[in-house]
């Protein structure tokens, strides 16, 4: 990407199409799509709900460590399609007790929102 935010063809890096809804709602939709994909790997009685309160990591969560990493990778990929930039969700170790934003869908969406709005080191998709 060029310094002015355009790519080598001179086009602007695309802004997320939020269809009039907030960036946060758009990110929530992306995460729900990821939940639907990860649910295919889970037994029926352990599938995650599409809700901001769904627990991703810690007590009450349905995902083991492999499931969470699969969820992260799928979400990063979908965010790249949605935002047009790649966002690294594992810059901080998601399994560290000090990394609190993986606790629920809502806390992770909030974290992604912050990253998306303040993306100083953003790279082209």
């Amino acid at each position: 990407m060029n310094m002015d935010g355009t790519n080598f063809l001179g086009s602007s890096v695309k802004e997320p199409s939020t269809n009039g809804t907030s960036l946060f709602d758009g990110i929530l939709r992306v995460m729900y799509d990821s939940i639907a994909e990860v649910n295919l790997q889970l037994p029926e009685n352990q599938r995650m709900g599409k809700s901001p309160d769904t627990i991703l990591l810690g007590d009450g969560g349905k995902l083991d460590s492999l499931g969470l990493v699969n969820f992260i990778v799928i979400t990063e990929q979908k965010l790249e399609e949605f935002l047009g930039v790649r966002i690294d969700l594992t810059e901080n170790d998601p399994f560290s007790p000090t990394t609190g934003h993986f606790r629920t869908v809502q806390s992770l969406a909030t974290y992604i929102c912050e990253l998306a709005e303040n993306r100083p080191g953003r790279e082209l998709a």
């Binding site: 492999l66 990778v73 990929q77 594992t90």
Partner: protein, 592 residues
């Protein structure tokens, strides 16, 4: 293992890999497959020890072996580091891996081995990667060598992993997944691989679909022939949609060449539709390409039932393709056994959607499969001849049926195992076995197995019957009594019983028994045995015949030893049927 056991128990799947395959295992267990599976894994990275286990008992029903080329073939790892390597050594390392797979065959009914791949970002030496010792060129050689080494292993299937990677695209390899979980691929690759392995297992267990029933208007061609006339249909020409319909017809025709039958279920005037099929200059499929059709204004589900019955196929053999979602929903609801794939609205996707269907995968390419269309043409002629004679007995006599009896050999083993594993209706015990299990079972002198080839004046039905016996304590028990519905009802079943009785009498045995194991589908076999003249013990589900009495060969069926034996006609004299007089011939309504 019996089918009833298979139906009750989860299939055991064993995963062997040098990377983390747990995500794939989760798809097997929790996905939407109709197969019930339990999955276990070899210790991580222990590929060779897992393949070389010395246990005599089977480890699981099926195994998946998915490895990294740079780990299994050390010379390839060196080449990735741009070191000059000895290619003979590289290929001998592939050979060693293939030998281990070969040895592991005894532990499983089938082994699915994934071909080797590299991530797209491994450019190797760039523009030279397909020259000299370029990494892509070496990888092609390694996969080819592996395929050739495994060519004669009938229970090992090499699956093309590159297809799943291409479908997923640049995300197929995720460095993040590798560093954090040691999974080599994205979950979507594992999902596609699991789906393909499930389809392969279904093909091994149940055989593949054998009949495609297609709609006409806006499915086989663009437009409504009754409104437009055949001259104005969108088909071929300098038109992108016309070309798409031609390609879809070509895809159907290619499947016909593999032995899958084509049929039509269309709401149309029959004469108008057939005129279009006959006269349109760019029509790829002509009336003679279809085994049967129902072109009328009746309910399509009812028409499909009729088509399957006419072709002696079960509904579980059928696939229905229609552009109309209402018709698809109707057939799905009324006939859940029929596979009704989702169909794209975009007509340019018809051919590609059809070509990616996995329900036609067959684990055993046999001459009978390729000749199936001819077999059905023979059957149509046979059925027509039936209308010209007065009685069923007279008709059977007019067929000049001949059975050739063979022992198990390299030449017929594939077909015998195929028939044994996919026949449902005329199957006494529904025993399902792999080639290795069958060979092992036949390792005792007290056990015998014969295959029956059947032909008549209308054509050769091929290897369609299996009879096996176990002899002990002065009596013999029929273990397998299997007959394809292609020939069921033509007294071949009587001839098989008579052959068994004659053999046992010559062996000095006193009694012949048949223990019937009921399944959801083998009632026709029970009906046959109930009319066989054997005494029946309901409590034990056992049929018995005292060999002090000769069991008569059926009228009009000749039995020969195969050419590898004496070639003598064992029995060709018309005999009285042991069936009760006036007993109806067995009715077969679906296929095996």
């Amino acid at each position: 293992m019996t089918a009833s056991n298979t139906e009750r128990k989860a299939l055991k799947l064993y995963l062997i890999s040098d990377f983390n395959l747990e995500t794939m295992g989760n798809y097997f267990v929790n996905g939407n497959s109709s197969l019930q599976m339990s999955v276990s894994s070899a210790p991580f990275g222990q590929v060779f020890p897992a393949l070389l286990q010395t246990s005599d008992s089977p480890l699981a029903d099926f195994a998946v072996v998915w490895t990294s080329p740079e780990i299994i073939v050390p010379s390839f790892a060196e080449s990735l580091n741009h070191a000059a390597i000895d290619e003979d050594r590289l290929l001998s390392e592939v050979h060693e891996f293939a030998e281990c797979l070969r040895k592991a065959q005894k532990h499983f009914r089938a082994i699915f081995v994934m071909s080797w791949t590299l991530p797209y970002y491994r450019r190797g030496n760039g523009i030279l990667s397909l020259k000299g010792q370029g990494s892509r060129k070496l990888l092609l050689k390694m996969n080819l060598k592996l395929a050739e080494e495994l060519e004669d292993c009938e229970s090992i299937y090499l699956l093309d992993a590159q297809r799943w990677l291409e479908a997923v695209g640049k995300n197929s390899y995720s460095p993040k997944l590798w560093y954090m979980t040691k999974a080599r691929f994205h979950a979507d690759v594992f999902r596609r691989a699991a789906r393909e392995v499930e389809a392969a297992i279904s093909a091994v267990l149940e055989g593949s679909r054998k009949l495609v029933i297609v709609d006409l208007d806006n499915t086989l061609w663009g437009g409504v022939v009754g409104d437009l006339g055949w001259q104005n249909l969108k088909l071929g020409g300098h038109d992108y949609l016309g070309e798409a319909f031609v390609d879809f017809q070509k895809a159907l025709k290619s499947l016909r060449n593999r032995g899958v039958l084509l049929a039509i279920a269309s709401k149309n005037e029959e004469s108008v539709a057939l005129e279009a099929l006959s006269k349109h200059p760019e029509m790829v499929l002509r009336p003679e390409d279809f085994a049967a059709w129902r072109i009328n204004w009746n309910d399509k589900a009812a028409n499909i039932v009729e088509l399957a019955a006419e072709l002696n196929l079960g509904l579980q053999s059928a696939v229905f393709i229609d552009d109309n979602p209402v018709e698809r929903a109707r057939v799905r609801e009324a006939l859940p056994e029929v596979h009704v794939p989702d169909w794209p609205e975009d007509k340019t996707l018809f051919a590609s959607r059809f070509l990616e269907l996995d329900c036609f995968d067959s684990p055993y390419p046999t001459a009978e499969d390729a000749a199936r269309n001819q077999l059905y043409a023979d059957e149509r002629q046979r059925a027509r001849s039936r209308k010209t004679v007065n009685s069923a007995e007279e008709w059977l006599l007019s067929l000049d049926t001949e059975c050739t009896v063979e022992e198990l050999s390299d030449a017929n083993r594939v077909r015998v195992v195929q028939l044994l594993n996919k026949t449902n209706q005329m199957n006494l015990t529904t025993r399902r076995v792999s080639e290795h299990e069958l060979q092992r079972w036949l390792g005792q002198d007290s056990r015998k197995l014969w295959a029956f080839r059947v032909k008549d004046k209308f054509g050769d039905s091929g290897l369609t019957g299996i009879l096996s016996l176990e002899m002990k304590s002065g009596m013999a028990c029929i273990i397998d009594f299997v007959l394809s519905c292609r020939v069921f009802g033509r007294k071949v079943e009587d001839a098989m019983v008579a052959f068994a009785a004659e053999y046992c009498t010559a062996a000095g045995l006193g009694e012949l028994r048949a223990n019937y194991i009921p399944t959801a589908k083998n009632k026709p076999c029970f009906s046959f045995w109930m009319s066989s003249g054997f005494s029946y013990n309901e409590k034990e589900n056992r049929f018995r015949w005292p060999l002090s009495k000769a069991y008569p060969f059926p009228v009009g069926v000749k039995i020969h030893r195969s050419a590898t034996a004496t070639g003598d006609i064992l029995h060709s004299q018309p005999q009285r049927s042991p069936h009760a007089e006036g007993a109806a011939l067995p009715v077969f309504t679906n296929s095996d």
